[in-house]
């Protein structure tokens, strides 16, 4: 399972000796982040440099190589995996423990004064760069941008090329708003903030703004590009060969003209704007240090982009698509769970991998299906307690009637993106499992039905989802909710619900969509998570309106029953019982006509059983 990194590190250290031009070209340490140049959450293989250098392939982590050490920082989700994958050249730095120093603090303490630490400035966001730089400077060291990527040089011919798949256009019937209209809103904000240009490097923002979609990163319908928006120009830096054949028509339908420039020319274009314009230039603090540094400090306007916020507040067509895609997705889920229960009961062997394939096949049969939105977490028994688990040959377990089965999955549809978790037991759950499930469900019902003032940060609602678990000293180690893209990334900002504040959260607003997913994990035994997607809507039923601030609440759009066998009814309040029963009735009323129409009596019978009021 461990891959030797000895040779890779030796070659990297050689390059570190002459990483900078000039005589004193040596760097004492090289940082290998897991970001790509767009600070995407997931990367294409070309960008999996940290995984290449360290052998650790989890989704989060940063490698640091000095002349005599190699260290990998990663968080609690990945301690186990990293320990398995890192060879003896590497030291695991457990991020999140109070005893673990930050990267900057470790380097500041362990490098001699005057040392230079190198990093590819495209692969670190400005927000991450800054505190490392500050800590290094305090120790009289410096963080220096190394424009050539040393890992790419070590990797050489074996490094996969950056993907460049064809782009598709998203028609107005699915996007809902023309590019021209989106531009109008952005243009007004540029004017209000006295800004000349907006640089957009986040791939989902570019895709959303331009009503285009791609497939350069698995599960994420985005394409590699940069976008510059001014009051009179849209400059798109992209490999023109991947543009769709109907791109001219797309521009006409969207009432815009887009200037196409080479992908690699983004730096040049920013520099041009810096020298030809006079006001500030808007760039998100999450954009790379490289792009940010091209703009003189006094000209930078560093806030979350208006595109990011607009994208999070869905328009009417996106909302309709979201609701509809969740109904189709719900049908597929019911078909899968009905099938699975039957297989397990009949003793037919199904394992995590074959189960997740079956679920994928049900989804693939649905209208507007475009693929999965992430690797399915199909987890039986102890595997369910690994929060970011997905089955591999060596971990694959049978799905049976003695262990809890946790299934967290989602799909991309032309009209929406889904993300849903259900936890089921096909035999007899223990009393503790039922209690934990019921408390998770209580949290979900409490969160999902809460009324709150418009524009509170998502963070302030987090505790509501934990309270019922906290009452007995239980908790879960992840956030409660994340934004979801519209036929886009399954995780999107800028808002979110967790213990920690999302730094760019503009406050919760009507027609944002987020997940509602409390859980509970008993290490090595089982995992429980119940996840719905909820739409933020006005709370029309309440007597007061927060002194005109506006009262909001959630509407659940995920359509799939929650296993009532797992519930200890005596732990639910009357209100909670009502909420659950009315949700199940809604699921029945929504899905049963479709199953009837499709003649799927088998799933219909299962659904009828699952939605019985408690």
């Amino acid at each position: 399972m461990k891959r030797s990194t000895t040779q890779i590190l030796a070659r990297l250290r050689e390059l570190m000796l002459r990483a900078q031009p000039g005589d004193s070209g040596c760097i004492a340490a090289y940082i290998v982040p897991s970001d790509d140049a767009h600070q995407s959450e997931y990367q294409c293989q070309h960008d999996e440099r940290r995984s290449f250098v360290s052998g650790f392939d989890g989704s989060a982590g940063t490698a640091v190589v000095t002349t005599d050490s190699a260290l990998l920082w990663t968080d609690g989700r990945y301690y186990q995996q990293a320990e398995k994958q890192l060879d003896s050249n590497w030291v695991l730095m457990k991020d999140g423990l109070t005893t673990t120093p930050s990267i900057g603090a470790w380097l500041a303490k362990n490098l001699p004064r005057g040392s230079s630490v190198g990093v590819d400035p495209r692969l670190l966001s400005f927000r991450v760069w800054k505190p490392i730089e500050t800590e290094l400077n305090a120790a009289e060291c410096q963080l220096v941008p190394i424009e050539r990527n040393l890992i790419d040089e070590v990797w050489g011919a074996d490094q996969p090329a950056q993907t460049s798949n064809p782009i598709i256009t998203l028609k107005l019937e699915h996007s809902g708003v023309t590019i021209a209209k989106k531009w109008e809103v952005v243009r007004k904000q540029l004017k209000d903030k006295n800004v000349d240009a907006l640089v957009v490097s986040a791939l989902d923002e570019i895709a959303w703004f331009l009503n285009l979609r791609g497939s350069d990163i698995d599960f994420n319908p985005v394409f590699f590009a940069y976008l510059i928006v001014t009051s009179d120009e849209l400059l798109l830096c992209v490999d023109s060969s991947k543009l769709p054949s109907d791109f001219a028509q797309h521009q006409t339908e969207n009432n815009v003209r887009i200037t196409i420039l080479p992908y690699a020319s983004i730096g040049l274009e920013i520099s041009k704007i810096v020298s030809t314009k006079e006001s500030k230039i808007w760039i998100a603090p999450t954009s790379s240090y490289y792009l940010t540094a091209l703009i003189p400090k006094s000209r930078r306007f560093q806030e979350v982009t208006p595109v990011c916020v607009l994208k999070a507040i869905k328009n009417d067509v996106e909302i309709e698509g979201f609701v509809n895609s969740h109904i189709r997705d719900g049908v597929a889920l019911c078909q899968y769970f009905a099938w699975l229960e039957d297989q397990v009961k009949r003793g037919v062997q199904v394992d995590e991998m074959s189960g997740s394939d079956k679920l994928e096949s049900f989804r693939a049969s649905k209208d507007k299906y475009m693929g999965l939105s992430f690797t399915t977490i199909s987890a039986s028994g102890p595997n369910g307690s690994v929060i970011h688990y997905h089955p591999k040959e060596e971990t694959n377990r049978k799905i049976n009637d003695t262990e809890i089965y946790l299934c967290d999955s989602g799909a991309q549809y032309l009209d929406g993106t889904t993300d849903v978790t259900r936890t089921l037991h096909f035999g007899e759950p223990t009393d503790f499992q039922r209690e934990a499930y019921t408390r998770v469900l209580k949290g979900q019902l409490s969160f999902g039905s809460t009324v709150f003032p418009a524009k509170v940060k998502g963070q302030v609602l987090d505790t509501l989802a934990r309270k019922a678990l906290w009452d007995v000293g239980l908790d879960y180690g992840h956030g409660t909710g994340h934004g979801v893209g519209h036929f886009l990334n399954v995780h999107e900002g800028p808002m979110g619900v967790g213990i920690r504040l999302m730094p760019d959260d503009p406050g919760l607003q009507a027609n944002m969509f987020i997940s509602n997913e409390p859980g509970f994990y008993q290490d090595g035994e089982f995992g429980i998570r119940v996840e719905d997607i909820v739409q933020i809507v006005p709370a029309a039923h309440v007597a007061h309106n927060f002194a005109n601030r506006g009262a909001l609440t959630f509407k659940t759009i995920t359509m799939c029953p929650k296993q009532t066998k797992m519930i200890k009814k005596e732990l639910l309040s009357e209100v909670e019982v009502k909420l659950l029963n009315s949700y199940h009735q809604q699921v029945w009323e929504t899905l049963s006509p479709i199953l009837s129409r499709e003649g799927d009596e088998f799933t219909l019978a299962w659904l009828k059983k699952e939605v019985q009021p408690i």
Copy 2:
């Protein structure tokens, strides 16, 4: 009500022309913060410079004077008061509105490039200084420390002197732990963080660490001083004439020798340490820019001080004193409310001011009484909706049987500090008033009984106190809880419970004491607040322990009934009814023997009526 500031501003602007040495000594703007040199929440009259220059005497606000403008930033609590008090020279900048620029942003936008903005560097914390400086620098302006205080020069002979009242020693029977023992803990932390010295400028930290108390600031038993702690020295910069006569004995009893230096020598002492030692020097980010800047950047260790955190976690003697002082305080409160109800019922005129005097006299009769801990908020009807109200001649209202009466008060005792709010109606409250009161109470019960994992930030519990109000679209515009000192400041950090994170919150830990005070305010009509002090204690009764992280909960130590007449019982859950009844039973069991012993049958009868189970 308005005082003309025309002459003051004219003289200040003259001084601004030659504020700095040299030819280009002019500053384009002068900032007048409300801080004193110790960043105290409340100031002595000598330090009320912002109030002197602007005429606005609220507790929070910052004045900025340019050559042709004068602006005052203050927050929502004080918009009305500032509008009343500022004369036509001043523009009110409503802090907290999204449309109001920060001080730095306003200056950056309105001053010509190259301008200097001056401020007394003693009166701005490093934490506040930094962002203003950053914004000014981005606009090619600068923030410059002006060592002479221009307001003091304008104020001249009329400025009250800095208070310098006698210091008293706090015996071990009240402090619980010797200075030597406290020093031992701090010394270990200095070593762990590889720090040579700790600079303490917060007055309550100094008083607590040295088991001394003063009276230099009204209601706050502190004295002006600075403290430097190293592994082998305690340097106290203080006016030696105010030291107590038993100071030598105090040192002996506390197993320490304290070096006394002149108050004004703190800068010199810091510089000495900088030049004689080599490691870092610990100073809180809340200490002044002046003190911080004496330490070279690379030598600064800027975190909340260990004294601040230690002080918040009360020792056994402090805990016992806290509990006992709250019992005595509870007796005084009951005596007052019993008396007040009787007066109002018999039609005897009592107003907000005479009421609060009466309450003070009851408190003053109690053992170990040392004074009030803040100006009593004695507020009838609409005055209760002004969150930081305290009665003055021109606002004084009769306490009657048609309006709600809100009383937020507290006292200093040798063994503890109290802060308690009760809201009462002596006639017939409206249905809406009862609903609002009940929802406030529900929030208080929910918060006060919650179980939570050790070391969560106080912020994550805030929503629990609001939930019952949110359910119907109501809310309150202040935090839910603040720390309380032990015979010290009634507001103390570093933890706190509110919508926003307290930046230095080390997480909630056993034996911290905080307030639990949700409220509701109907502008111009009434205010409701119910406030107890709660102790953080282990939640021994719960089944699990957050995977060994530790389960905590609260124990209410305030002893005073909550008016049941205001409650709509149908809005309470069974659990809530039980919590309230059992609290009232505890109040009865705690206070009735004392009232009996004192022969106060009158108050006893009132108490018996008030604690009847609902």
